[in-house]
């Protein structure tokens, strides 16, 4: 199987490198920024493409992993290839690729950072395809990567993407706010790293509603008032504190 990688961001890079590691041949890389294509192509032992219209029509699998806003323009500019074309977006419909006879979605439900290596066995792949032949190919690729694979339609995928905003993006921001509060008081983030790991690890065994701890779920108004008093010079943090505490109280009702 010959693969073309369209894009060179976090997802494109991780996915392409994992495919290569799984013994799949990457033949071309295109990126909006040619220098990035050159860099990733070198790592993949593939060819860097400057002009998107020069993408080969002979590959078996094309992965479009660019910003959601750029998917339409990228599709327009690509040649009308016959191989399977997938995008990796959580929010863009599969129909965005309808220009290609064989298309689907290959959405990795994970958070990627360039500097961090990630074992694809911890990357659930949400697959969508118009027919079983394409779906079977997507599943075969997932199997090569060692990833758990799920058939997920476009509506479900958007729900997963939204849920991930809460359970990943917003969660990381709360870590950042915790770090900010510590740093302003000369305390090291290391102190709460074990707490962060245990909080995540707990919900590997329990549902989060059962795992809830802290003053809001105990109805400990005195502690909440003390916390809010400590945040009196940080009205934005106080507002977040109040809103999430209220939400905890309601969710346990």
């Amino acid at each position: 199987m010959d693969v073309v990688c369209v894009g060179s961001g976090n997802v494109a890079t991780h996915l392409a490198m994992a495919l290569k590691a799984a013994g799949i041949r990457l033949i071309q890389v295109w990126s909006h920024t040619f220098a990035n294509a050159v860099k990733l192509a070198a790592d993949l032992e593939a060819e860097a493409i400057a002009d998107i219209s020069e993408i080969t029509v002979d590959a078996d699998f094309y992965i479009i992993s660019v910003k959601d806003d750029a998917i339409a323009a990228v599709c327009e500019a690509m040649p009308a290839v016959k191989g399977i074309v997938v995008h990796t977006s959580g929010i863009t419909p599969a129909e965005a690729l309808s220009r290609f006879i064989n298309h689907g979605v290959f959405y990795p439900l994970q958070t990627f950072s360039k500097r961090r290596t990630l074992d694809f066995k911890h990357v659930p792949l949400c697959l969508e395809a118009g027919n079983t032949v394409i779906m079977d190919t997507l599943k075969a690729v997932a199997l090569k990567l060692g990833s758990p694979a799920y058939e997920i339609d476009g509506g479900q995928r958007r729900i997963l993407h939204l849920s991930a905003a809460f359970a990943c993006n917003f969660v990381n921001h709360l870590y950042a706010l915790g770090d900010l509060i510590l740093g302003e008081n000369g305390l090291d983030f290391d102190l709460i790293r074990p707490l962060i790991m245990e909080t995540a690890d707990k919900v590997s065994a329990y549902r989060p509603l059962e795992a809830q701890t802290g003053p809001a779920v105990r109805g400990d108004e005195k502690t909440m008032a003390a916390h809010l008093e400590m945040l009196k010079d940080r009205p934005e943090l106080a507002q977040i504190y109040q809103m999430l505490s209220n939400s905890i109280k309601k969710s346990q009702g």
Copy 2:
């Protein structure tokens, strides 16, 4: 060293069991609810005490691990013991124990759930004491437990406690909201468990500000608008979404 455990909640139970496992003798357990004292005492091979005034004056170490609101009343009711008396609260000043000649704070910066076992090497202990003799004893106990120990004054401890509300209590609630969104759409929480683990694991190596991903940090207004549209029947969740997205945008500025 003979230890008395005052309280039978999550923290009291985990701490007392860990002390026992470390070869330290628990001799008495008191609890507001006698049945709970009986149960924990049985596990500890200690004596359950119904009347708090009957706590022995001969122990070396007394751990008060009750609700913050109850600490003052518990102290009043206890005999004026000479051994070291500590509480385990993140928010209560050490001075709350000033009735006892030898007192301090033994605050475990971790989230405890009764059904979950926890290795105390992952429980940072925040220690406070009025003199070095008491501090040395607290450190010796921490060492027995295998826990990292930090000398933390009352002001710092309150900051840690507040930071933990963000990085643990609120984080778990965001997991719960993610789970809620999935459940209402017939999707399983299992799908986002790997994402949750990776999000936490990432900040074991990086600072959360560097690790931030998602539409808010990318300035992807279209995706945020799509998410908010999906939340149009859940105004509370939409409000949390909007507030945390705005906060992410600001924090990266």
